[in-house]
Structure formats: C-alpha cells, structure tokens
C-alpha cells in the first residue's frame, strides 16, 4: 500500500505542475498585466519600473521556473492586490470554502441515500417518478440561478434565511477555540443553508439517481433473495445487505463529488457573498493577480488530488477485492 501511496504522491506533483502551467499560460496569454498596477498617468519609465518590480519583465519561462522553484520551497509569492503572501490570503479564505463544501456534501449524501433507496423500493410508482423528476430538475438547474431564486423566495419574500454573509465555524476550531465554534454553530449552519443547497442540489440529484440504480441492481441479486428467504425483516435486508453493496459506487462518486463541489462553489460564493476561495479566485483572475491565482489553483488541485487518494484507500478498505 505504501508503494501505491508514494506512486500517487509523485503523480500529484505532475498534476500540480500541469495545472500551474496551464493557469500561468492562461493568465499571460491575454497580454501584459503590468498596466493594471500602474496609474493612468504613469509614464513609460514608471510602467517599466512597475513591470520590473512585479517581475513581469522577465521571459515567461523564467517567470514560471522562478515561481516553481519558490513554490518548491513553500513560497507561492505575494498577492499583488493584497500585498501579503498569497498562501496566507488563500489560507484565510479556505476554511469558509471547506465549510460550504462539506455542508453541501452532507446535504448531497444525507438526502440522496434515503431518496434513492425509497425510489428503488417503490420502483414504477408515483413516488419513484416524483423523485426522479426532481432529480432531473436538480441536475438541470444552474446553481447560480437556483441561488438567486432562493434569495428572492426565502430571503426577500419569506425572510427565512439570510441572503448573504458568513459566520466562521472552522476558523475558531482551527484556532482551538471550541467554545466560540460551538456558540456560533447554529448561526453558521443557518447562514450555510441556502448556499449549500445551491451548491449541493446537483450532487444530491445525481447521487439519488445513482443510489436508486445501484439499489435496483443489488435488490435483484441472489443473496438478497436468500436473505429474504431466511426470514430477515425487510429493513434488515435493505439496510444491512442491499445498501451495503449498493454503497460502493456511491463512495467512489462522493470522492469525486468533493472536487466537483469545490468547483461549484466559485459561482455560488459570489452570489451569496461567501468569503471563500472561489470568490477569491474569481476576483484574482479579474485583477490578474497571478501569484494569488496560482496559490488558489495549487491549493484546490492539491485538495482534489488528496481527496481522490483518500477515496481510493477507503474503497480498498470497503471492497476486499480491490488491491492497491
């Protein structure tokens, strides 16, 4: 297993190099970003000085190699807008995104499994049909539109939920301030409801359909029939026998889901003014804050790759047939 982990980690380095290279080229392909960091009235001499100060005067490959060299030593550069180490700016925003992603994921799993199981058990009925129609809708509606509609309905009209804002939860926990985290938990969750639903509805719908099809396949297998023949209760057959095996493809999907949800939060964070890494990345791209974009990309890609690795390990644990 350790060999496998080492191999995957080495692949991670290649993935990170790839994404940084692509984002680097993407940001520079539009032209010289220096002009965004000088006054309208700057002379050519001042523009040249700024270009040198910002490091944009060197050939692109030198800029990229310098960045990679520094990154290998843990230095991702300084944000051009925030004038702080880019990794610090990302680290400040990351907890909010993790909170939102985890809560969205929780919604996507907690609601998807019972809905999928229910649809499978009532196959062909109105219940099944309703769940599947809702599932298709959930996969069809863009998250930003859903977010705006929820704001209009639940925020402006009914005033059930806050429209924007964020109450930190992970941040106090990471600082060891459990009391503050517990105190702010209800408010934090309350602020998370609408953005999490906007992010998570797509995954919820997909997972529900996945659980349904997986359950249908499992319920028709011989060992389930045997379990029923042994006189086990239907609850025990479904939960202990069918669901346990139907669970495997869902676990795989959940791992990928985290990365998918991380990507999905970008737009939703803007709609709900959520101070996370998605909004940070969006602004950094608009402002051509290249060190900050690179830091965001590296962190997001790193998380994505790490989660995939963890899912593979869990998968091996759940299914003894899988050998790493």
């Amino acid at each position: 297993m350790w060999t496998y982990i080492a191999r995957r980690l080495s692949q991670t380095v290649i993935v990170l190099l790839g994404v940084t290279l692509i984002s680097f080229i993407g940001l520079h392909i539009g032209g010289d970003p220096t002009y965004l960091y000088v006054s309208d009235r700057a002379t050519n001499e001042e523009i040249d000085q700024a270009r040198e100060r910002l490091g944009f005067d060197k050939p692109l490959y030198v800029q990229y190699l310098t960045f990679i060299g520094n990154a290998a030593q843990g230095d991702l550069g300084r944000s051009l807008k925030f004038r702080r180490p880019a990794i610090e700016v990302v680290a400040d925003a990351l907890p909010a995104t993790i909170e939102l992603t985890l809560f969205s994921m929780a919604i996507a799993i907690v609601f998807a499994i019972p809905l999928g199981v229910l649809a499978a058990l009532r196959r062909g009925t109105a219940t099944d049909g309703s769940i599947m129609i809702l599932g298709m809708l959930g996969q069809s509606i863009p998250s930003f539109w859903l977010g705006i509609m929820m704001i209009m309905l639940f925020g402006v009209q009914l005033r059930w939920f806050p429209i924007s804002g964020h109450v930190p939860l992970l941040e106090p926990l990471l600082q060891g301030d459990v009391r503050t985290a517990l105190t702010s938990l209800p408010s934090a969750l309350y602020y998370m409801v609408m953005p999490s639903l906007a992010v998570g509805v797509y995954s919820l719908s997909r997972n529900a359909r996945l659980v349904r099809s997986s359950m249908l396949e499992t319920l028709s297998l011989d060992y389930v029939r045997t379990a029923r023949a042994k006189g086990l209760s239907e609850f025990s057959v479904v939960i202990n026998h069918a669901l346990r095996n139907a669970w495997l493809p869902v676990v795989t999907m959940i791992g990928l889901e985290f990365g998918f949800l991380l990507g999905g939060v970008v737009v939703v964070e803007i709609v709900f003014s959520w101070p996370g890494i998605g909004r940070l990345l969006f602004n950094a791209i608009n402002q051509r804050d290249i060190p900050l974009v690179q830091a965001c990309v590296i962190v997001l890609a790193g998380i994505f790759v790490a989660i995939n690795l963890i899912v593979d390990l869990i998968y091996a644990r759940l299914d003894p047939r899988v050998r790493l």
């Binding site: 539009g30 970003p33 960091y37 009235r41 700057a42 003014s273 101070p275 909004r279």
Partner: protein, 517 residues
C-alpha cells in the same frame, strides 16, 4: 405523534432563528454594502475607490473636497502658498490624537507624506502612484509641531486639491509596524477606528470622535448586484453602491428604499485615435477636425442616457465636469442631417451602397455601466449617417487595457476617465502633454498643448480661467473625443436613512443620519 412533536420543534426553531439573525441594523449602526473587497488599508497602498471611501473615515487629511468642489479645512485650518507656488505650508492646530493616544501634529503629517513617497516601501497606491506623480512631490518638512511644509516640483493651482487625497496618520505607531501589519491593522487618525475586519466579508468601524452620527459603521462586501439589492430590500443594509440599472425600478417601488441617481464625474467618450498606426480611409478621415465635428452631431446622447442608463443627462461640452467647464459652450445637438451635410462638405459623400467610409469602434464589455450596449448604439448612429461602423467588444483587463495604454485602441474607442469637481485643470490634465499617458488618442493640436505654459505663467485665477475657457473651446470644436456623458452612479438607500450621494464617487457617511419618522 412523536414525529409530529419533533416536526413542530424543528419548525419552531427554524422560524425563530430568522428573527434573531435577520434583525434590521440598530439605530446607532449604519450598514453599507460594497461591491468590491477591501484589499488594503495601508495609506500608502490604497488605490481603489471603495478602499479609499472606507479609509476616508479612518484617516484624516489636511483638507477635503466639499460636495460643491471646494477645498475645505480638515486637519489643517489654513494654508499658504509660496511665491513660486512650489511650497505649501499648512497650519495644524493642536489637540489631535490618534487611536492609540499618540499626539497627531505636523511631524506626523510630514512622516505620512514621506513614508508614502519612500521608494524603499515600494508603494503603488493612489498617493505615490498618482498624486505625487501629478504634483512632482519632493518632500514634507515639519519646522514646528503646528506647521508642515509640502514641497513640490510643479507650480499648479491643482496642488491643494491633490493633497486632499493624501491620508495622514501617526508616526510612532506606523514606524513600529511592519508593512504587512500596516496593511491590515490601521491605526486611526480620523473619526472612526477599525474594530473588526474579516477580509472578504466585512469591516466594522466604531466612532471615536466627531464628525459622524452613527456609533458604528459596518461595511459588508457583497459583490453580486442582485444580492446587494436583495439585502437592501430586506432592510439588512442601509446603503448599497453600484445599483444595476435594471434593479432601479424594483428598489424605487419597494417602499422601503430608494435609488439616489447622480451624474458622476467619470467622463465617458469615444476617442478618435490619431496615431499613425491607423491608416485606413476611415482612420484618415477622423484625423480631420471637420469630420470629427460632423460625427458629434450624429449621436443622440440624451436618448442613450435615458434608454440605456436610466437617467436624464446633459451631453458633455468638453472633458471638464460641470460646473468647472466653459459656461459659454453648449452641447452638440443630435442632428443627423447636419452630420451628413458636414461630411459631404468634408469630402466624404455616400457611395452607391450609401457608405461614406468604414470604421472600427472598440469598446470594453462589463467595465462601465452598460458599456457594450452604449458602444453598439453609437455604432448604429454612425452607421445611420453612412459611417459603416463595426463594433468590437473586448474583455477589459486582459485585452482592452493593454491596447488603450499602448495607445493602440481604435481607430475609434469607447472609454471612461475619472474626473473631479474641484478643478477644471484636474480634468484637463489627461491631456497635459502630447506624450502623456492618458492622451490615448495621440492628439497633438498646438492650440491646446501650447497653452499649458500660459497656464503656468498665469498671474491670477481670472487669467488662468480665461486660458482654460479658450482651451475648452478648442476641445469642443476640434477635440479628439466624441463627447458623450458623465457616467451616472446609482446608490440604493434605505428609507430609514437620510443621506445624499455625491457626484464624485466619494461615499462620505459623516452626515448620514436616521430619517425623521
């Protein structure tokens, strides 16, 4: 029954929470929704308008610009200008302190200026990058605790106005801080101090001295326009900036808030690029003043304002914001027949296809209020008089900005340029020299550029004013801009608040107060 009980408990909890969390701000708190995050509050680094608007409440300045564009006292009560116009001496009355209790006197003012200018700090904010460049700042000296002398390299009547934008802070506290700390831990010298700052989310200020009617000012960062509007309509926010024109009706009809519409100071124009790099027949045509003048008549600016910007506007007569412009000038009327007549006379008749010449109009998408549609409308107006115009819409930061800055946009391009209320020269200084950065059209008319020396030599404000008016007449008649409008700004204001928006994008909250019930 047990399930019902649980359901009732959950419903009760959920319905109870909103009233706890979604409370309208208290009477001593003012909440402002900003469209952009605040990246720094180091006085030397501040460059964005939003950051500057927040900093205005935290840091004092030597003087300030009033609503009607006058330089008025703030920290300094008086100032004098040396005979050569290159030294300004400000008197700082005693009795000022900073947030940490340190006395704020002339030495601190001098330090604030010199710190911003210090190359070792590598600041790129508005003060070193724009103000100091514009006045050729040399140094600041404090001969005694009540006087500070600001030395500059250029004699200009604009200098006192420029200096209103330089934030002043205490010396000892900032000497102790690293540059990183100064970015996020401002030590106030003005009426309010920062008590909480969650980057990307909110900044909370608390009042420490007059002026100001609210004990707390809370700035919330809400980038999405529709979300800002929703927060205003639910009463969670009192003032929002950058209201989208399509949401004005919803706010005005809400009975809980209104939209303050002001014609701002940003000058929107279509530039006629005179650069030699453009040599198509159309590009050569707009190098002639009579063709440019003809095109002025072709565009119906008031209708563009009304239909695309949701505001009634008067067309600009020059590059100077009213009331500082030449009062004798009148806006070009919309008169397509006149435009066609002038083009015929200039030697550009319609051909068999009805085309006089072809033209490319480049414009940004998403940078200015409804910019793409305004550019398309201008293109259509020009096409209507036989100037077949192809409108190219471009991404702002990556594509358009480099083109503009290299003076390579065009031959015609749509652009906005920030202006001010306090000085005609400030607005005119875009074209301070043929080779100046913001002369994006490469215009070189000596009737304009040779007059800058006359302005510097002017012996009285009246003489200076006469020269300015003559220059503006040249600009109006033969200038390189197709004159458009001053970009409107829309602020959403809760009916609970009494506050009037300014024209110059400055969101000053000292006079804001609760509306009479």
């Amino acid at each position: 029954m047990r399930q019902l009980k649980y359901a009732l408990i959950v419903a009760g909890a959920v319905s109870g929470v909103p009233y706890a969390v979604l409370a309208t701000p208290s009477d001593d708190t003012l909440v402002v929704g900003l469209s952009a995050d605040i990246d720094t509050l180091d006085p030397g680094e501040i460059s964005s308008r939003d950051a500057s608007n927040v900093a205005e409440h935290i840091f004092t300045t030597l003087s300030s610009i009033s609503v009607d564009g006058q330089v008025t006292p703030r920290l300094a009560d008086t100032y004098t200008v040396s005979d050569d116009g290159k030294s300004l001496t400000y008197h700082i009355p005693p009795g000022h302190t900073c947030q940490d209790g340190e006395t704020l006197d002339a030495e601190d003012v001098a330090y604030s200026f010199n710190r911003a200018a210090d190359p070792a700090n590598k600041f790129t904010g508005n003060t070193p990058g724009f103000i100091f460049t514009s006045i050729d700042f040399k140094d600041a000296i404090a001969p005694d605790p009540e006087h500070v002398v600001i030395n500059v390299g250029i004699k200009s009547s604009m200098t006192p106005g420029f200096l209103t934008e330089v934030f002043v802070h205490c010396k000892d506290s900032y000497e102790k801080m690293s540059l990183d700390d100064a970015t996020t831990h401002p030590v106030a010298s003005g009426p309010y101090q920062v008590v909480d700052w969650t980057p990307g989310s909110e900044i909370v200020l608390e009042k420490r001295q007059d002026p100001g009617n609210f004990k707390t000012i809370e700035y919330r960062i809400i980038p999405e326009a529709s979300t800002r509007t929703a927060e205003l309509l639910t009463g969670n926010v009192d003032i929002i900036t950058n209201v989208s024109p399509d949401q004005i009706g919803a706010i005005d009809n809400s009975n809980v808030a209104r939209v303050e519409k002001v014609q701002g100071t940003r000058r929107m124009y279509v530039g006629f690029n005179q650069s030699a790099m453009f040599d198509s027949p159309g590009a050569m045509a707009i190098k002639k003043a009579d063709v440019r003048r003809a095109l002025q008549y072709a565009v119906d600016v008031p209708t563009i304002c009304q239909q695309l910007l949701s505001i009634e506007c008067e067309r600009a007569t020059s590059l100077v914001n009213p009331p500082q412009g030449n009062p004798d000038l009148t806006p070009y009327p919309y008169d397509p027949a006149m435009a066609e007549k002038l083009l015929d006379e200039a030697g550009y008749p319609r051909d068999a296809d009805g085309v006089r010449f072809e033209m490319t109009l480049q414009a940004p998408r998403g940078r200015y209020l409804n910019d793409a549609n305004v550019a398309l409308a201008v293109g259509q107006y020009l096409s209507d008089i036989g100037v077949a115009t192809n409108v190219e819409l471009m991404e702002w930061s990556s594509v358009y900005v480099p083109l503009i800055r290299k003076h390579e946009a065009g031959p015609m391009f749509f652009l906005g340029s920030g202006g001010g209320l306090w000085s005609a020269l400030y607005d005119m200084s875009d074209l301070a020299a043929v080779d100046s950065g913001p002369n994006y059209t490469d215009w070189d008319d000596p009737r304009w550029f040779s007059r800058w020396a006359d302005i510097e030599a002017a012996k009285s404000p009246e003489e200076e004013r006469t020269i300015i008016n003559e220059m503006l007449k040249v600009f109006h008649d033969d200038g390189p801009w197709l004159l458009m409008y001053f970009q409107p700004d829309f602020y959403g204001v809760s009916n609970r608040i009494d506050w009037t928006a300014r024209r110059d994008e400055v969101v000053e909250l000292f006079d804001a107060k609760l509306a009479a019930k």
